[in-house]
Symmetry: C2
Subunit: 249 residues, 2 copies
C-alpha cells in the first residue's frame, strides 16, 4: 500500500489535541474521518508530534497508508473539501517511501510560542497568543534562554505525566524574536518532552517579569525537580511550526 506524507495546519482551539481521545474531538480523528469520507478506508494516521489541547500547528506532519495510489494534488484537495468546517487543512500531500515514519524519521522539530506583552486584552490574537501584562525584559530572557541551550536533564521542564523514558534532551535553538509588543520564541530540537516548550517559556517569563534572575533559571534546571518550574505557559500560544526529515534519497 502506498504511504502518504501529509503536511498539516490547524487551529488547536476546538480540539482535545492531536491524539484520538474519548473525551472530545481530536485533530487525528477529524482527519481520519475525512480520509474515510473520501476514500472509504479506515486509515491510521501517525503524527510527528502529539500536540496538546489548544496547541496549534503550522506544519504538523503525519503519514498514512492507503490502498490506492491517489494523485497527491487530488488527495489534498479532496481531504480539504471533507475537512470543512473544521479548522484543519492539508497543506501538502506527498508519496513517501515505505519506511517513512512521521514520528520516528523526524530529524528536528520546530515550535513557536507567541506572547503579546501589553495591558489591553487580545482581540484578533485571542486564543492565538499568550497575553502577558507585566512589561517583560526581553534581553534578560534572551540571556537566561542561553542557559537552556544544549544537552540537559530537563526534568524541571517536563510534565509530571511525561512518558519519555529519559528526561535528557538537546535543545538546539531557543531564540526570542521581538517586534514591539509581540514576542515569538523559536525552539528547535530533535525531540521535546511533554510540555517542555510551555514549561520553558513560562519560566523565562518569570525572568522577563523580574520575579526570577537568570541564575534562578539555571538553578531550577540543575535541580532537575518539576516543582521548581515556573508557571507553565498556556497551550494557545504554542505552534508546531515545522518538522524536518532526511532529504529524499
Amino acid at each position: 500500500m502506498p504511504r502518504f506524507k501529509l503536511t498539516l495546519e490547524y487551529d488547536g482551539a476546538p480540539f482535545v489535541g492531536w491524539q484520538r481521545q474519548a473525551n472530545g474531538v481530536s485533530v487525528q480523528e477529524t482527519l481520519e474521518n475525512a480520509i474515510f469520507a473520501m476514500t472509504g478506508e479506515r486509515a491510521h494516521l501517525q503524527g510527528a508530534g502529539r500536540t496538546d489541547a489548544g496547541v496549534h500547528a503550522l506544519g504538523q506532519v503525519a503519514h498514512a497508508d492507503l490502498s490506492r495510489r491517489w494523485p497527491t494534488f487530488r488527495l489534498a484537495e479532496g481531504l480539504n473539501a471533507h475537512l470543512v468546517p473544521h479548522p484543519v487543512a492539508v497543506l501538502k500531500a506527498e508519496i513517501a517511501p515505505q519506511d517513512f515514519d512521521a514520528r520516528r524519521s523526524a530529524t528536528a522539530r520546530h515550535y513557536l510560542y507567541r506572547i503579546v506583552n501589553r495591558r489591553a486584552p487580545l482581540t484578533l490574537e485571542a486564543r492565538r497568543a499568550w497575553l502577558v501584562k507585566p512589561r517583560l525584559d526581553v534581553e534578560a530572557m534572551r540571556e537566561a534562554a542561553r542557559t537552556l541551550i544544549g544537552k540537559h536533564d530537563f526534568t524541571t521542564f517536563r510534565d509530571s505525566q511525561c512518558q519519555a523514558s529519559s528526561p535528557v534532551r538537546t535543545l538546539d535553538r531557543l531564540d526570542i524574536q521581538g517586534e514591539r509588543d509581540t514576542l515569538t520564541f523559536e525552539a528547535s530540537a530533535l525531540s521535546f518532552l511533554h510540555r517542555q516548550v510551555r514549561s520553558v517559556v513560562g519560566s523565562l517569563v518569570e525572568v522577563g517579569a523580574g520575579r526570577w534572575t537568570s541564575a534562578d533559571l539555571k538553578d531550577a534546571l540543575e535541580a532537575a525537580d518539576r516543582s521548581r518550574c515556573g508557571k507553565v505557559a498556556p497551550a494557545h500560544g504554542l505552534y508546531l511550526a515545522r518538522v524536518d526529515y532526511p532529504p529524499d534519497p
Copy 2:
C-alpha cells in the same frame, strides 16, 4: 469637558462595522456602551474611519468628551474590563486638545490588506485574510500598483454608494510585502474613498492572476467608471492599521 483620544484594536468579524446601525451590533455602539457602563455618561464617539462590516482595526482612533478628567490608564483599563467579551480593546487612552477631532485632524490613514495565496483552506487565518487560490505574480502586481500612486480620479475604485463629494484622492503608498504564501498590501493616504482599498486590491489580484495586464489596470483607472473595477476584495482581509495626527504642540 475634557476630550479623550482612544486608540483601538478590534476583530471586525462579529460587527456590522464601525458605525452605529439599526441592523446589528457596531463597534461604536459596543464602545459607547462600555463608556456608559463605566462612567454613567452617554458619550458620542467619533472615529477616524468608518470601517465596514468585517473589517478589522489594529489602530483605529476615536475621540469622546467626558465630564470627568479620568486618569488615562484607569480609563483604558476600565473600558477594557467593560468590553469583555467583545473583541474590542482600548490600546491607549490619552487626553487630547479641545480641538482634536479623530476624523478631521487626521493627516494620514494606513491600511493593510492580507492575502494568503495557496490552495488549502485557511485555519488560523480564517476571517483574518483573503484566500486566493490561483498563484499570484507578485512582481506584476507591484508594477501595476505603481500606476495608482499619486493623485487620481478614483471613481473606478470607489463604491457606488460612496458619499465623498470628490472622487479625487492622493494615494501616497501602495506596497506589497510578500513572505512565502502571505502577501500584505500597505496603503497610505490622507483619506480613502469608500471601499477604495478593497477595490484596488481586488483589481490588483486580477493582474496577479494573469486575467488583467498592468495596462488594463491603467485603462480601468483612467476610464473613471465603476463598472471597470475588478472583483472587490472581501472585508475580512482589511485592517485599519494606523491613523496619524500632527504632533502635539
